[in-house]
Symmetry: C2
Amino acid sequence: MGKRQRITLRQDQRLAGSEGLDRRLFLKRGLVLGSVAALGPSFKVHAEPDREAFPTWMREPGRTFSNYGQPSPHEKHAIRWISANPLAEGNGVSWTPLHDLAGMITPNSLHFERHHNGVPAIDPQQHRLQIDGLVRKPLIFSLQALLRYPRVSRLCFIECGGNSNAGWRPRPIQSRIGYFHGLVSCSEWTGVPLSLLLQEAGIDARAGWLIAEGADAAGISVSLPLAKALDDVIVALYQNGERIRPENGYPMRLVVPGWEGIVNVKWLRRLKLVSEPLMSRYETAKYTDLLPNGKARQFSFQMEAKSLITYPSPGFDLPEHGLYEIRGIAWSGAGRISRVDVSVDGGESWTAAELQGPVLPACLTRFRLPWRWRGQQAILLSRAVDESGYVQPTRQSLIEARGEHGYYHYNAMVSWQVSVKGWVSHVYV
Amino acid sequence: MGKRQRITLRQDQRLAGSEGLDRRLFLKRGLVLGSVAALGPSFKVHAEPDREAFPTWMREPGRTFSNYGQPSPHEKHAIRWISANPLAEGNGVSWTPLHDLAGMITPNSLHFERHHNGVPAIDPQQHRLQIDGLVRKPLIFSLQALLRYPRVSRLCFIECGGNSNAGWRPRPIQSRIGYFHGLVSCSEWTGVPLSLLLQEAGIDARAGWLIAEGADAAGISVSLPLAKALDDVIVALYQNGERIRPENGYPMRLVVPGWEGIVNVKWLRRLKLVSEPLMSRYETAKYTDLLPNGKARQFSFQMEAKSLITYPSPGFDLPEHGLYEIRGIAWSGAGRISRVDVSVDGGESWTAAELQGPVLPACLTRFRLPWRWRGQQAILLSRAVDESGYVQPTRQSLIEARGEHGYYHYNAMVSWQVSVKGWVSHVYV
């Protein structure tokens, strides 16, 4: 893939079909030969099953009920991988194992973590949320008080501004996708519309920003434009049905749909209305992008469109020639994903993938496309297009725009190479 | 509420507004007086916070990262309540604590359980799915083989056919709603379209039904019409993103959107195509409804529209006069919920509630409506209407149709009485 301009496909533009990619391939030619032949001789089809041969779990009563269920002991590998500072073990991240997951929802136990000073053990009875600054009437809310307020739900992703930052390295890293791109998770958050609380406090006409502060020992403070706060932000109390988990802000956090993780302040304790942003560490030294011209992108809150192929991906080598379903996820802070294109030839030709509904704004969206692999070397890529018309950039065009020394906000296309032996590795094209 | 005919409101029919119910009430008059005044004198608003007074969790590093998260120790009450047979402890149910939850998604750890002989400890490497009977080519699938097939997701509820059956009792039971109606849960299930597997096996023209069998020690077998199997049924491998939990069918289950729980066969091991249904215990002695005329409703698979007010509900007494948000859930196996009406006067007048989007077919749908309680005795009811035009019946009309000795498929409106003291109890109206 040579040097090329930023892609600007129109929604209605026809894509060239690619060799081996076909949406109806599974219907035309099933997997049966590949899968069933591989089962071995011990599993014959009986006209009636042989009861003697039943496994123990069909002959003995199973275990009884449980108050709070846990995964199968056979799934112990599906965990968050932890990258913490050995000198300050509450500072670091844990990754959502995207390679082990399916669907749109991230289970609460596997939602990524980013902490600056660990997970505070907050007593929900003592915790308070304070709204002050440029308001007519400062307010303090207990959790009990907030639980009486109207509730709305937001199905949305939260992504760390530093997610995928290994993409900035000069050589492609080789790791499972969860440990490369797993600082993004998607949940149904339920809580109180922030606009309602701010309206109760009475917004002073001079207020243009909101400083949000967490109750952890890192004392995270960030600035948010008031317009967004009045739009779709919520003070979330629930995560996928149950109360928010400790590592996700128990007993309450901001959820700022589509905007980078740091402003979705966890353990929320204070919202101060001000006229100008705070210029805190997290919006000056961190989460900003120093550009080649010496200027810095700051307050680039909205996460831009992104996609990646989760299968095949490094760690999932292809066992044989035949049919595979290329699968992946796409998301955009600007709204809905409108299309995801897939290439198996390094970007020379593209085919539109099928999107799993419901396709929701600022939500993970699954895509899929059947592919017949005939043993050739292949380079797999996906490119997301969102409803604003934005097209996910190539790595090269992202570097042209931002320089080679980026750290945050990496959203370029991701490429996997499939070797003639079926081995899958990360490459730059 | 006197004797009345089955309600047949048109979609566009205007509802009489009710005293104290108003969708915009929270915007007009916030909760601030009720909530903040109740906080006590120890929480004053400071121009700048007093750092000395910060709680311990803001002064000491928090705990570090975890591989698989768990709820806050302060939320230990939000568990499944177990009702098992003391003589056969794997036979019974555990209930989703609906009174503790919010939103549409039920977390996996709290999905209701219904087992007939416990949870089998299946080895996923040994487990096989067999498709046979009236097929051209019987097939056997390992889990590994199924994982290569195309995947789709279904966001849908699963409800036990026996859910809410305490409603058939002559006197209203008094319990938390989760222990009365909590045999319904809602998840994003991801797996292989069953139609694809059946097409691979080749369907014989004589086949009209499918017998599905589980790999537990109860040997559950049920019959499903082939038309539904070819429509939207999946062999689910994932639940809310991660692999299915043991108590929900690990490593695979049928998900039959909108149809009663028993046919969503867990621990799925065999699908046999046949010309006539099996007439198993679970479709003759159980999960059928003996009608007053001596005939029985059988194979009434689709769960009919239902709703209930989750707040206020028994256990949530109202602490003071003032504004409350009436909240609840509605669902229908026939498709989307098109409207939920709420009454605070025992069904004399109704107001349409707001529905939380996205409103999806065969999914839990949250509704809400602000209510100003002035201290009067009130009777709260909700009634769901689905996109087929079906209207949730009154208890009286359900009994007129089905008789007084029902056990399954109870979907009548549920009534809560609020006393002048704010106590909430279950009543029949």
